[in-house]
Homo-oligomer: 177 residues x 2
Amino acid sequence: MQATLDLARESGYARLSMEAVAARAGVGKHTVYRRWPSKGLLFLDSLLSQNEPDLGYPDTGDVMADLRSQIHAAVDLLGGPPWGPLYRALLGEAQHDPTVAAGLNERFIRPQADRTVARLRTAREQGQLSSDFDLDLAMAVLSGPLYFQLLITQEPLTHDYVDRVLDALFAGMAPRP
Amino acid sequence: MQATLDLARESGYARLSMEAVAARAGVGKHTVYRRWPSKGLLFLDSLLSQNEPDLGYPDTGDVMADLRSQIHAAVDLLGGPPWGPLYRALLGEAQHDPTVAAGLNERFIRPQADRTVARLRTAREQGQLSSDFDLDLAMAVLSGPLYFQLLITQEPLTHDYVDRVLDALFAGMAPRP
């Protein structure tokens, strides 16, 4: 799996092949295919297992500060090299290969969503969030604007950007009474 | 370009090739390559020119209603077959091919962002939006959660989902005073 990441970093995901990974790892092609049925799944496994980032939430009692520090950590990890381009390539592959999308959701997105909801539920109980904020939307609302920047506009994902997004989400779009 | 879309719908973007498009269109391969340097750009052009959806905003004087009807139109177009899977494939390709990402932003995302900001600016002037809502974030905040659903969780993009997102964005996450 290290060979996969090394090759992807050197020449990009598009040029990655099972054959090249096998050659770099010094094993036969069939050994690779036995374990991973596709390039996408090999890449998913390589990314998730080499890189076990702690993207959990602190609980300092201040939900805004805790969200901010977690999102800064996520941006530091996924917003730039080396992981940013590889993560983007993985998300690109997930649009073509449903097994990659399913694996990514099961192993990364859903556990992350569960942690987000848990932290926000505590905050809601403590009166730090609106009592009718829909927790099922938490992940989409909080991380959607980050993915929009990462995948669509592909502009730099900075601390300043996510701070402004958090402020806007907390304040809401409606005029204050 | 019709041949490109027909083939992509029949067998998926991953299996699409310049050769197959040329054969289906009854022209030589070089004719295709002369006009489009890559499969991604051919696909982008085919999608954007065959399909000129009106994703503009009405202005009924009620910004919430206007946003809702525009987003419903976008979801109807991009949330399901036939365009949904093709648009997802295009966004997938944009993660691997920077020329596709640049073309998509220039020809679709940025004009759409400009229209969104224009409609929201009017609403802000009319007191229907918070006076300090950051218009530069409008596109990311409003459409980020939709792209999250379309590209990441890949769960169905429904009117109900976008209605709930709009309500959450308007109300904000912070507790009401």
